[in-house]
């Protein structure tokens, strides 16, 4: 990978997405969409597709924009700030990432153009009940006979499976985990919607009962991991963006809310909380952007940088969203105030695609394995 855009181009992309979100994805819109059946803002999704964002990571020969992690992260900051309800993560990042990583040209040619156009909603099932997104947690088994495979087992925490036109599944084979495609409407598949605490998300539990499946590519878990890395970069961007937005809203409230005859932002309790959260918000942004950059440049330290972003952005978002409610006081204890939407998102993203404890452990494992680890990058 590399960075295909100039700084100016990236600024323009971010600005365009920011404007789109401001114009068409206000809080009112998010609240309306999150109560719909599929939780997808179809008009917004179409606009994002038109702008090339649904196919951001799809190579241009398959109809996409052919961009990479750096652009992905910038866009994710904006969609995360606005709590956009789209299948971007499921379809454009995780599934597109899996297909590209599979190096299965035929599958790519068949599936990626629709994903890039936004006309196909795709998702992927990688984990089961324990929701650890580790290979040992895959609970779907593939049985291959005469070149034909059938899948049996369970997957959970699958995003947007209820709306998916394309469903990829990681299943165990004698050679380890492998990637398969199944028809989502196959009668052997039962998709049960899981009610979510963060109503802007859609999750499903899927059971497979001898479902015919097509093997995608030959790569094993490393390919899944490559797609998960992209997903973590996007998650980190959304977390950094969400954290920054609820932080900005809180500071603005502190500037204007009057109690005791003066703005509450003039009281040290609020000032000091705000200063501490600013450090968290800036650190999250730095971590997310660095992870994207390292991945784009295929640096040796990319793995560490992504682990770092995974836990640092999750923890920062959770802390900022939680403290924001306290700083607002009573007003943020109401359903009508948006603060809890950010807290719900922050809590969900603390576990979706892996927990902070997991990534801290991996981070330390990586850096302690190096003979002379570098203390601070870059």
């Amino acid at each position: 990978m590399a960075i295909a855009t100039t700084l100016e181009e990236r600024r323009a992309i971010a600005e365009t997405v920011r404007k789109l979100m401001a114009d068409e994805n206000g809080e009112k819109r998010v609240r309306a969409v999150m109560e719909t059946q599929d939780g997808i803002d179809r008009p917004l999704w179409s606009r994002l597709a038109e702008m090339g964002i649904a196919g951001l990571l799809v190579p241009s020969r398959f109809g996409g924009a052919g961009l990479g992690p750096v652009e992905l992260e910038l866009i994710a900051e904006e969609t995360g700030a606005a709590l956009a309800c789209t299948p971007f993560l499921s379809s454009s990042v995780l599934t597109a990432g899996l297909l590209v990583a599979s190096q299965d040209e035929a599958a790519c040619a068949r599936l990626l153009p629709g994903i890039a156009a936004g006309t196909t909603i795709a998702t992927a099932a990688l984990t089961a009940e324990r929701g650890s997104w580790k290979p040992e947690d895959v609970a779907v088994a593939a049985q291959e006979t005469d070149g034909a495979a059938v899948l049996t087992g369970t997957a959970s925490y699958v995003t947007h499976a209820g709306s998916a036109d394309v469903l990829l599944v990681v299943a165990t084979t004698p050679d380890g985990p492998a990637l398969f495609e199944v028809a989502p409407r196959n009668p052997g598949i039962t998709i049960a919607a899981l009610p979510t605490f963060d109503r802007t998300l859609r999750l499903d539990r899927i059971t497979f009962n001898r479902v015919p499946a097509t093997r995608i590519g030959k790569a094993g878990w490393p390919a899944m991991e490559a797609a998960l890395r992209l997903t973590l970069v996007a998650r980190a961007g959304e977390q950094a963006g969400g954290a920054r937005r609820i932080f900005d809203m809180t500071v603005e409230y502190a500037r204007t809310r009057i109690q005791f005859g003066r703005p509450i932002g003039g009281f040290q309790a609020i000032k000091h909380m705000a200063a501490e959260l600013l450090l968290e918000a800036e650190s999250a942004t730095s971590a997310a952007r660095d992870a994207a950059l390292q991945l784009a440049l295929e640096e040796a330290g990319a793995g560490e940088a992504i682990d770092l972003a995974a836990f640092a952005c999750a923890d920062a978002f959770a802390k900022i969203a939680a403290t924001a409610i306290q700083m607002h006081g009573g007003i943020a204890f109401t359903w009508e105030h948006p603060a809890h939407l950010y807290l719900r998102r922050a809590r969900a993203y603390s576990y979706l695609f892996g927990s902070s404890d997991l990534y801290r452990e991996r981070f330390l494992t990586k850096i302690s394995a190096q003979p002379h680890n570098v203390s601070a990058a870059p």
Partner: protein, 392 residues
């Protein structure tokens, strides 16, 4: 009358009249006919407020004797006594209302024929309760009320609202407030449910449009409302503390059972966290017990004021550790996922304690000033006419 005589009398009376709980609801704002009938019996036998004066429905009993009555009722599970300790509106009226208002409202309150709600907080008066902007204007023998209150429980069913409103805008903030018992069931009062972040709607917003309150329902004198409110808040705080301790959630049992059920009781990280939060709850219980013992020995205790702050920390920390225990399951919700639903509810509802009834930040101010004697901050709005005070 000796303590033994009293014990005999109350036990005999209960034996003669108490037939078991039946459909007597214990809810704070619920009423039904059977409950009211029982409370009326208790009132007529003068057990409702044993320590109150004889001329005001009581028996003039000592604290010790009042406890004997309360224990006797508790032993058989009968409600209705001890209202001298917890009936907030009745106590406020007894302390500060005119005799006519006492006569008019206290019997109904003690018999549970009359229910009340609190009309204190406003959108622009949260932490700064003395900053209320709801106005009550004199109009002959009545006041006309306009404005808005928020965070009112039980407003939809209440007969009276305990209202703090501004009656003088020319004087500093604390000096222009008055306290009323406002009849809620009138056209000028509109109650709208207020949905909380948990999705429930335990509270209301209340809007006043030329609502009317008789001047006779003024408590504590015109522009003396802040003093009345302090009395009422003291009762409310003691009630809140007691309620918090009765919370159905969050015992050590629960959190260990949760970890065990999740198969994570052997996780060394979680073990330390679980031990920490159980310790917080125990330490709070030990603090409360020590405060109580100090009080019984006549030593005033500074610990009491720490309870709400401690509980706030306990609730947030427990929610955090419970979330860590269930992990990815915390993404889920609804009746089909009761464990996740419970944990997520606790995480959100912890703010009820850390914000409601005075935020943690306000509590820390109070502790540092009243217990530790640290100076108050400069109050910019203290000595200026309220009409000049900024709001927003």
């Amino acid at each position: 009358m000796t303590n033994d005589d009293l014990r005999r009398e109350v036990n005999d009376w209960l034996a003669a009249h108490w037939g078991g709980a039946g459909s007597i609801a214990q809810g704070m704002w619920d009423t039904n006919a059977e409950m009211r009938a029982w409370y009326t019996k208790v009132f007529e036998a003068r057990w409702s407020v044993p320590s109150w004066p004889v001329e005001w429905f009581g028996r003039n009993l000592s604290d010790e004797q009042t406890s004997i009555v309360i224990e006797a009722f508790a032993r058989v599970g009968a409600p209705g006594t001890g209202q001298d300790r917890f009936n907030l509106p009745a106590n406020t009226l007894l302390a500060l209302a005119s005799d006519a208002l006492k006569d008019a409202l206290i019997p109904g309150l003690l018999k549970r024929e009359i229910t009340t709600c609190l009309l204190y907080s406003e959108p622009s008066a949260g932490s700064d309760l003395a900053g209320v902007r709801t106005r009550a204007e004199r109009d002959g023998d009545r006041f006309i009320v306009n404005g808005q209150k928020v965070w009112t429980s039980g407003a939809a069913t209440a007969d009276y609202g305990m209202l703090i409103a501004r009656t003088d805008w020319e004087v500093p903030k604390h000096s222009g407030l008055s306290f009323f018992f406002l009849p809620m069931k009138q056209a000028g009062v509109e109650v709208r449910p207020l949905r909380q972040i948990t999705g429930e709607a335990h509270f209301n917003e209340v809007f006043f449009t030329n609502a009317i309150v008789p001047a006779a329902n003024l408590v504590g004198g015109l522009n003396q409302g802040w003093r009345v409110l302090q009395t009422a808040l003291a009762y409310e705080r003691s009630t809140m503390g007691a309620n918090a301790r009765k919370s159905r959630h969050g015992s050590a049992d629960d959190i260990i059972a949760l970890a065990r059920a999740a198969g994570r009781l052997d996780d060394p990280l979680l073990r330390q966290d679980i031990a920490r939060v159980i310790a917080l709850r125990r330490l709070n219980a030990l603090n409360n017990a020590r405060a109580k013992a100090d009080l019984e020995q006549g030593t005033s205790s500074s610990i009491m004021s720490l309870g709400k702050l401690a509980m706030s920390r306990i609730l947030h920390e427990e929610a955090r550790v419970r979330t860590a225990i269930i992990g990815v399951e915390s993404l889920l919700a609804g009746e089909t996922h009761p464990t996740a639903d419970d944990v997520n509810f606790l995480a959100l509802n912890a703010y009820f304690t850390s914000i409601g009834g005075g935020t943690d930040q306000i509590q820390k101010n109070i502790i540092s000033e009243r217990v530790l004697g640290l100076p108050k901050e400069p109050e910019l709005d203290r000595n200026v006419p309220f009409k000049q005070v900024r709001s927003g």
